[in-house]
């Protein structure tokens, strides 16, 4: 009965979101450059990027120009004409939030010099990433870029939150520590694991270890004291254009587990495609619009397997890894037998909508909201950003499957600090 209601609620919400996005989505402005005529890419190879930075600085020194130096956080985009000599046509640098400075035509050669311009134009010989940036519309882009960046990577030098810590040691790399996995519907202590790894704007990779099972709030239902137990393993995830993928595995370490009957993630995978749109919102005054900002919709599938182990004298007596297991309805017992199979109940559809309100000072949105369905977990999250530095997230979780390792619902709170080096 409860499941039917939830299903209805999801369908109604989905319908509302889709119709809202089509109504509020802004028409796209004409492209800035014709992608049929130009190739564009970001210069990712650090030495070449530094050479461009130096050349721009030299040009500024030698001339009375309005060009600004290239900041370490800027994207440096090279544009090449597809016709004729395939010469370098433009250099753009900046960010979507702050806008791009464009050096084009003859001035590119004046700034870079012949050899450097030729070298940069030969993108086939160095590390680069193709970009759509020069082809896209400028209007309302900062919010989209905020969602694109903050859902995986960050522009902040140091981000400390209850869900993750990211420390950047450059424009393209950093260290990350994550507690739980929001995308698997189990944020904070709900997943039983923490992650330590390296992160780049495109991928992250690292170790997975058991974490303390602490509820950052209130858990409701019959299994309020039951948690998933973490193990030792690894994780990897990528976000490449519209595609997101993630894999993890872990194996139970009896010495680090509490209790005799243990439920633990064994492996997990997630894949989804994303779609971004800007929202002009509903105008409520001359300067204010309700729900203005940007929205990101993701759709995919999640697979996660929970295995059941019995631990006796600090040794795993048995571990059930077979695939076809279902807990009988209403069965809340902890005990299971050798031969019971691991559960795939944590698998299913993945759907997520992220919303960010209009950026304040081109840096942060006051309001962020998320609605996510990840297998049996339905999550609603709201973040109130007091300032660029401090954000307060509030998460409501609802689990649609009755099993021994999940509460029925939970309300969790946290914090997010964003600190930039001066």
């Amino acid at each position: 009965m409860m499941n039917t209601n939830i299903r209805k609620a999801i369908l109604v919400t989905l319908g509302l979101i889709i119709s809202l996005s089509s109504v509020l989505a802004q028409p796209k402005a004409p492209p800035m450059l014709d992608p049929r005529r130009f190739d564009a890419w970001t210069v990712e190879y650090e030495p070449f990027r530094l050479l461009i930075e130096n050349a721009v600085e030299e040009y500024i020194t030698l001339n009375d120009t309005e060009l600004l130096p290239i900041a370490s956080t800027d994207n440096v985009i090279a544009v090449r004409s597809k016709s004729g000599q395939r010469q370098l046509y433009q250099i753009r640098y900046g960010t979507a939030s702050d806008g791009y400075i464009v050096i084009d035509n003859m001035e590119v050669r004046w700034v870079l010099g012949s050899t450097l311009a030729q070298t940069i134009s030969e993108k086939e010989t160095y590390y680069h990433l193709d970009t759509q940036e020069p082809y896209e519309t400028k209007t309302h882009r900062p919010e989209v870029e905020y969602l694109e960046v903050e859902t995986f990577w960050t522009h902040t030098d140091l981000q400390i939150g209850t869900d993750r810590l990211v420390y950047l040691f450059g424009k393209s790399g950093g260290l990350t520590v994550e507690w739980g996995s929001e995308l698997f519907g189990r944020p904070y202590g709900e997943a039983g694991f923490a992650r330590f790894g390296v992160i780049t704007p495109i991928f992250k990779l690292g170790l997975q270890v058991p974490s303390p099972s602490i509820a950052l709030g209130y858990r409701a239902g019959a299994e309020t004291d039951e948690y998933l137990t973490g193990g030792i393993g690894g994780f990897g995830a990528f976000k490449y254009k519209v595609l997101y993928g993630e894999l993890f595995f872990q194996s139970l370490e009896p010495a680090l587990a509490e209790g005799s009957f243990i439920h633990s993630y064994d492996l997990g995978g997630l894949m989804n495609l994303s779609f971004n749109t800007t929202l002009s919102g509903i105008k409520i005054s001359e300067k204010k619009s309700l729900f203005a900002g940007a929205m990101q919709i993701r759709l995919g599938a999640v697979i996660a397997r929970v295995d059941h182990s019995k631990i006796v004298n600090d040794r795993v007596l048995f571990q059930n890894l077979k695939r076809t297991y279902n807990v009988a309805t209403g069965d809340t017992t902890d005990e299971f037998k050798n031969g019971d199979a691991a559960s795939l109940e944590e698998s299913g559809l993945f759907f997520r909508v992220d919303y960010a309100s209009t950026l304040i000072g081109k840096r942060f949105p006051r309001h962020e909201a998320t609605f996510q369905v990840s297998g049996p977990s339905i999550m609603t999250k709201y973040v109130y950003n007091v300032s660029h530095t401090l954000g307060i997230p509030l998460t409501v979780l609802l689990y649609t499957k009755d099993n021994e390792w999940s509460p029925s619902a939970a309300i969790l709170v946290g914090f997010k600090l964003r600190l930039d080096q001066n």
Partner: protein, 432 residues
């Protein structure tokens, strides 16, 4: 009085420290060559005219067609001033333009040459000169793109190549890819009975793993068995890694009959890898003596976690006749699963027909428990579309698994010694 002395002392100290600090602040110089022939000619014409005006008997050491080299000084506050201009004649002799003449020239002309708002080039680029490969190296940097393309990615539309592997690029960013085995873990093609296929980009690969086998010229070797699973690999110029899993539970009871050795099957349930890498230039150009053709050498140093699981296939009655489900009996411990990784990749520079003639890679996997192996791959590209490859892999020590006899009536502890052995895999590469 004391206060006044103290203030005087502090003032003096601050003055001295400022002067001392200033004396150590660096000033810079910018040097370049004027490549705009028209601008260069008009500047030299103006210079010669001014020189003649000052002294019509002056001996002319420069010509209008000379190449100009400009040196601009940058002071501590970032202000620029013209230091010197040299004119280089056809004989290669550099003649310094007279300061007195430059000072007498039209100020706009001097501002123009100093502003660098014309076609110019770095001095080092001009002095090194030369071909395509040198264009990159005048900056004393080595792009690792070519060596990455040779092994991780491809610059071709279709690349059926080294490992063996198949890359079909559907657009510049994405490719469908298939790779036999896990060369990155030291178990290439024949050493791991898996086919990893899926999506590849320049930075990452996301594969599904399937059980498969590949030709091996040495029939006495014992490869890893394969099953279904997934792989996620990353690579950037400075670091990369991978994560993967396989699970025998995804196999049906009849699938196990395809195992090479159902009574003793070893597979890799999970792996993780992380490495740091950098690329250097190596070799000598074709017109200079040397054994190694000029190219890029990429080194990868890191660690691998690779778990090995040992099991047997037997049916519900416990009979090992090659059919039934896989039963895991033992798996490698944390120490046995850890490996030091050292990998070297070399690709000769692309020639004028846009292919790397020689590619080589060697990988050492040193297990902390003594188990380990060495993998070597070499590839020779004959023409734009055809190449030949050879892959050799050797494991120097067996891995021992200990398990209780699966027969419930017995309590004995048994051992299985897994010797992967030696693998030889030749292949042909096709490029389109």
């Amino acid at each position: 009085m004391k206060n006044r002395n103290l203030i005087a002392l502090l003032t003096m100290l601050s003055f001295v420290s400022t002067m001392w600090a200033q004396s150590f602040q660096e000033t810079g110089k910018l040097e370049w060559v004027v490549k705009d022939r028209e601008f260069s000619r008009s500047f030299m014409e103006a210079y010669i005219d001014t020189l003649m005006t000052i002294d019509d008997m002056a001996e002319l050491e420069v010509q209008e067609t000379d190449e100009l080299r400009v040196i601009v000084g940058i002071d501590v506050e970032g202000n620029s001033s013209l230091e010197n201009i040299y004119a280089k004649g056809r004989s290669g002799v550099l003649n310094k333009l007279a300061k007195a003449v430059l000072d007498s020239m039209d100020a706009e002309m001097i501002d123009n040459i100093q502003s660098r708002r014309y076609n110019w080039d770095y001095l080092s680029a001009v002095d090194v000169g030369g071909g395509r490969g040198d264009v990159i190296n005048v900056f004393e940097e080595r792009s690792n793109k070519q060596v990455r393309d040779a092994f991780w990615w491809t610059h071709r539309r279709v690349d059926i190549s080294v490992f063996p592997r198949i890359f079909i690029r559907v657009n510049p960013n994405f490719a469908f890819a298939a790779e036999f085995g896990r060369q990155d873990l030291g178990f290439p093609a024949a050493a791991s009975r898996t086919l990893n296929m899926g999506l590849a980009t320049e930075v990452l690969k996301f594969y599904a793993t399937l059980p498969a086998s590949y030709l091996n010229l040495n029939s006495s070797s014992n490869p890893l068995e394969g099953t279904f699973g997934g792989v996620l690999k990353f690579d950037s110029p400075s670091f990369g890694g991978s994560i993967s899993f396989q699970d025998m539970n995804f196999l049906g009871t009849t699938d196990t009959s395809n195992f090479l050795s159902p009574k003793n099957a070893v597979y890799n349930p999970a792996s993780g890898q992380f490495y740091y890498s950098f690329t250097s230039r190596i070799g000598s150009p074709a017109d200079q003596p040397g054994f190694v053709p000029i190219g890029s050498l990429r080194l990868q140093i890191g660690f691998t976690f690779m778990q090995f699981a040992y099991g047997q296939v037997f049916n519900e009655s416990g009979i090992s006749d090659g059919t039934g489900a896989y039963h895991q009996l033992d798996k490698s411990g944390a120490l046995e699963s850890m490996f030091g990784l050292f990998r070297v990749e070399y690709a000769s520079d692309m020639n004028n027909r846009f292919f790397n003639k020689i590619k080589m890679a060697g990988q050492l996997n040193m297990g902390l428990d003594g188990f380990g192996g060495f993998d070597f791959t070499t590839s020779y590209t004959i023409t734009e579309w055809l190449g030949v490859n050879l892959n050799l892999t050797y494991f120097w020590k067996p891995m021992v698994f200990t398990y209780e006899d699966p027969d419930p009536t017995l309590t004995s502890v048994l051992e299985y010694e897994w010797k992967p052995g030696f693998f030889i895999v030749p292949s042909v590469a096709l490029y389109f």
